[in-house]
C-alpha cells in the first residue's frame, strides 16, 4: 500500500484513516458492479461468445485474456482494456499539455512532456510573434532561440503522432511561453480531460493551466493580446521615440505584485496537497482547498503541514458523500 508521506500525530492518523475509509466505502458503493481492479497476469473474465476486442494492457494467453498492467478493467461494447493508474502520460489528439524545452533542433523544438519520448514542436506549426502568416525562412530558423530557449516552459496542443514522434502545435495566442509563475508536476491520472483547461481566476489575477500530462502551470495573468490587430507601421516609430520610457514600462511589466505572488503560491500549495493525497485535481477542488486555507487564516507554508492535509481529506470525504446523496 502506498503510504502518504506525512508526519502525523496519533489523532491526525486516526482522522485521516477515517476520512480515507469513508472515501473507500463511498466509491465502492458507487461502482460495485464494475469494481474490477486487476494486477499483472490476472485473468480478465470475458464472454467469448459475444466476441472480444482486446485493447491496451491485455494479452491473449491460450484463449484466456490476461492483464499486463495493474489497473482497472474498462469495457466499451466489445472492447476490453486495462486503464493503468500511475503510468506515464498517454497523449491524445487535442490534449492541452505543458512542457519544458529540452533541445532546440533543426526547425523544431523538443519538449519534455512526461511521455515516453520527447514531443516535437515544429517551427512551422506555431504562430510567429509578429503574427504574420508566411513561409518560414532560414532567418526564422536562426532566430528560433529568440522565441523559445532551452528550459522554457511552453503550453501547446497535441497535434498527432507522425512517423518521427509526437507532434505538437501552438497556433493561437493562448499557447506559447509561460512566464512568471510556477510549474508543478503531478501524476497524469489525477488530471481529467475536460472542456476547459485554461482558467483565469479573476479575483486572484492568476492563470491556471491544467495540462493533461500532469504538468500544472500557476502564473500571473497575462492578457492574451492579438498582435495582428496592432498597427505594424506605428510600432517601430514609437520604440525609437521613447526609448527611456520603454525600459521603465518593461520594468513595470516584469514586476509582479506581492499579493499575486502570494496567491500563486497558495494555489500551487493547494495543488500539492491534493497530489500528495492522490485526489482528482479539478478547478473546483483546487478552489475549495484554497478557500478552506484562507478561511482558516493559514499561512501559505502551513498548507503543506499535516493538519491541513487531514482537513482537506475530511472535506473531500464530506463533499463526495454529499454529491452521492444528491445523485
Amino acid at each position: 500500500m502506498r503510504e502518504i508521506e506525512l508526519s502525523l500525530n496519533q489523532t491526525q492518523k486516526i482522522r485521516l484513516k477515517r476520512a480515507l475509509e469513508k472515501l473507500e466505502s463511498s466509491s465502492s458503493k458507487a461502482n460495485s458492479n464494475s469494481n474490477a481492479s486487476v494486477s499483472i497476469s490476472d485473468s480478465i473474465p470475458v464472454n467469448h461468445e459475444d466476441g472480444v476486442l482486446k485493447g491496451h494492457g491485455t494479452l491473449d494467453l491460450n484463449g484466456e485474456l490476461v492483464a499486463t498492467l495493474c489497473g482497472v478493467v474498462e469495457r466499451v461494447n466489445k472492447l476490453v482494456y486495462v486503464r493503468a493508474l500511475r503510468a506515464r502520460y498517454k497523449p491524445e489528439v487535442g490534449d492541452i499539455v505543458v512542457g519544458r524545452v529540452s533541445e532546440v533542433a533543426q526547425k523544431r523544438w523538443r519538449l519534455d512532456i512526461h511521455y515516453s519520448q520527447d514531443a516535437v514542436l515544429m517551427l512551422s506549426s506555431m504562430n510567429l510573434p509578429d503574427g504574420i502568416q508566411r513561409r518560414r525562412t532560414a532567418l526564422d530558423e536562426l532566430n528560433m532561440r529568440s522565441i523559445f530557449e532551452e528550459n522554457d516552459v511552453i503550453c501547446a496542443e497535441v497535434r498527432g503522432i507522425q512517423h518521427d514522434g509526437l507532434h505538437l502545435q501552438a497556433r493561437s495566442q493562448k499557447y506559447g511561453k509561460l512566464e512568471r509563475g510556477q510549474l508543478l508536476t503531478v501524476p497524469p491520472y489525477l488530471v481529467r480531460r475536460r472542456k476547459q483547461h485554461f482558467h483565469h481566476l479573476e479575483q486572484y489575477g492568476v492563470d491556471l493551466i491544467l495540462g493533461c500530462n500532469g504538468f500544472i502551470w500557476v502564473g500571473e495573468h497575462v492578457e492574451a493580446k492579438d498582435d495582428m490587430v496592432e498597427d505594424q507601421v506605428s510600432k517601430p516609430e514609437q520604440q525609437k521615440s521613447n526609448k527611456n520610457s520603454i525600459s521603465l514600462e518593461e520594468q513595470e511589466q516584469t514586476y509582479t505584485p506581492i499579493e499575486t505572488r502570494q496567491n500563486i503560491c497558495r494555489i500551487a500549495n493547494a495543488v500539492r496537497v491534493l497530489s500528495i493525497l492522490g485526489f482528482n485535481i479539478t478547478i473546483e477542488v483546487i478552489m475549495d482547498t484554497m478557500n478552506l486555507s484562507s478561511s482558516l487564516n493559514l499561512d501559505i507554508h502551513e498548507m503543506l503541514g499535516s493538519e491541513f492535509c487531514v482537513l482537506v481529506a475530511e472535506g473531500e470525504a464530506e463533499r463526495r458523500s454529499l454529491t452521492k446523496r444528491k445523485g
Binding site: M1, S27, A30, V38, S41, R88, S116
Partner: protein, 241 residues
Amino acid sequence: MEFVSPEGLRLDGRRPMEMRQIRAEIGAVTKADGSAVFEMGNTKVIAAVYGPREVQNRSQQINDQALVRCEYSMANFSTGDRMRKPKGDRRSTEISLVIRQTMEACILTHLMPRSQIDIFVQVLQADGGTRSACINAATLALADAGIPMRDLVTSCSSGYLNSTPLLDLNYVEDSAGGPDVTVGFLPKLDKVTLLQMDSKLPIDIFENVMQLAIEGCKAIANYIREIMLENTKQLEYRRGI
C-alpha cells in the same frame, strides 16, 4: 558445521522448507515513476524505475523496442563490516546484467519503441539472497511505473546442506560453500527465466532443490499480487469518480 539440527531446525530457527518473512511496500521514492522496497527477513532492497523516457544516448536507441538498463549497487552500510566498495566491481556488474536480462524478458518492450527504461536497485541490508530480493523489488517497481509486462517475475533461492534441501538461504548458509540455486520464475506462464547455481549437485537432487525454489517463487508471487491489487484499489478510490 551443523546447519540443520537433529530436531530439524535451521540456524535461525526455520524449518528446511520455510521461507523468511517477506514484506513489500510500493512507492518509496517520490520522484521516480515507480518504486518499491522489498524485504526477505533481514535482507532489504530498494528499487526505483524511471521511464519509459527519451533515450539519453541516441546511438543506443532501438527503433522497434525499448532499451532496458539496470544498475545494482550495495550500500556501504549494508554488510556487517562497513566496506567502501568501488562502484562497478565484478560482482555488481554481473548482478546488474542478470537482473536486466530477467526483467527484459518479461517487459513488453515492443510497445514502447525508441524509449528507455532505467531500473536502479540498491541493497540496504544484505543477509543472503540479495539477487532474488532485487528481482522481486524490480518487478514491483516496474508494475508501479505502469510498464506492461508479460507476467510477474519472482525469484527465490534454495540450497543443499547437511543432505537437506533448504529454501531461501540466509548469509551464514550462503557462505557455507554449498550449492546455491537461484531461480527466476514466471508463475502464470509456468516458465523459468533465470537459473543460476554455485558448486555441484547430482541431477536427481538438483531437481528437488529447484522445485523447492520454484515453490518459493510461487509463494512470493501470491504475496506480490496481493500488494499490487491493494495499491491499485487505494489509488482508484482515493482519486474518486
